[in-house]
Symmetry: C2
């Protein structure tokens, strides 16, 4: 039996019995991706459900005139394309590796069998989906009601929280461009630049290249409302 420890790093799978992990491992198709490589495209037939083992993956929606919005940047351990679980639908968004990444994929049909046979797994999936939904609804509210400044603050705080554990001055290493940051915030490249510059001038943040340090976390939080 192959070593399945890598699965224990994925929260959804973490607490499952070893026998089940072995089964999951057996059905996992692993894939190594280069920076910028596409994992799947919006509209393609949905094969299955994915998770990030290492690296980062961005999930984007594109409008017909080519502008894109990043729904979320997935960190190691997170699931994506869970939307298709038990629904045979095309992928609702596009997934691209932000940096070189390793992702796992389990075909719908296999996962469904596993879920039906194991309610602990079902429970974990329900939890994961709930959390994603929660996040999505928060984001809807932000886009609808908040201005660029608060949305930027919100994104910075979240990125900081996701990446590093707990540090004194949270630092974010952006593995993606300003353009990507902009479409994560829901604005344009130029506006993000201006917003960051303004925050830097007021000593709320500091940045150089692709490293951003949050100097005044409390103030940022006050912006988020």
């Amino acid at each position: 039996m192959k070593n399945c420890d890598y699965l224990k790093a994925i929260p959804v799978f973490a607490n499952l019995p070893d026998a089940l992990l072995a089964l999951i491992d057996q059905h996992t198709l692993e894939r190594q991706l280069e920076k910028g490589e596409t994992i799947f495209m919006e509209g393609e037939a949905g094969e299955g459900f994915h998770y990030v083992i290492a690296g980062q993956v961005k999930i984007i929606k594109t409008s017909e005139d080519g502008r894109e919005h990043i729904i979320k940047v997935m960190q190691p351990g997170e699931l994506f394309a869970e939307v298709l679980l038990f629904n045979s639908l095309p992928y609702p968004a596009t997934a691209i590796a932000v940096e070189s990444a390793r992702v796992g994929m389990i075909r719908n049909i296999d996962l469904e069998r596993l879920v039906l046979g194991n309610n602990q797994l079902a429970l974990q999936l329900i939890k994961a989906l709930s959390q994603r939904l929660l996040y999505a609804q928060q984001k809807i509210k932000n886009l609808a009601l908040d201005d660029v400044l608060s949305r930027t603050a919100e994104v910075l705080l979240r990125l900081a929280g996701e990446q590093v554990g707990k540090e004194k001055t949270p630092e974010i290493k952006l593995d993606f461009s300003r353009q990507d940051l902009a479409s994560l915030v829901g604005t344009t490249r130029e506006t993000v630049t201006r917003t960051l510059s303004a925050l830097k001038k007021d000593a709320i943040i500091d940045f150089e290249g692709n490293r951003i340090r949050l100097l005044d976390v409390a103030y940022l939080k006050s912006l988020v409302s």
Copy 2:
């Protein structure tokens, strides 16, 4: 044993065995609500998961300065506050009856037991959550990338699709105010008025009072992209 047919009208429960329905019914707390009555408020401790039996329920998020955004108007048969499944969290949004409504509620703890004991129910919940997530992500994309006109068109089409089955000229009966429609679109009351007026002038829609008829559905669809 009480008659549980009303549960069969809820898609999530529709295909479950009668014995399980009886159990569900047994744990359901039903509540009759007047128009405008609050079911729960954002931030309150989450008791359980709800579904609409009759009437309509709006799910809203409020910003600190009082402006609100309607995440979704729930129709009969739909679930809400599923976000809390297996997570003990405060309610992430507020729920208010749009018109007099009847809603069912099942306590988290009860539902969790039911889910653990029945894979079929778990599967249905996963499906329902997936669909909600899909919807949420679509909405995120709309808010981030589309203008008020396309968002309005999108909302009108969806309302029409949800309410009536299939008619020649889809007609929407708004049970809520222009203000509500605006915060569903993600804009202001005045702008919605203007947008609707413009569409009326071009004979794309017609409306009078709280009835809106979609005259040129094809054109509306072309706006949505």
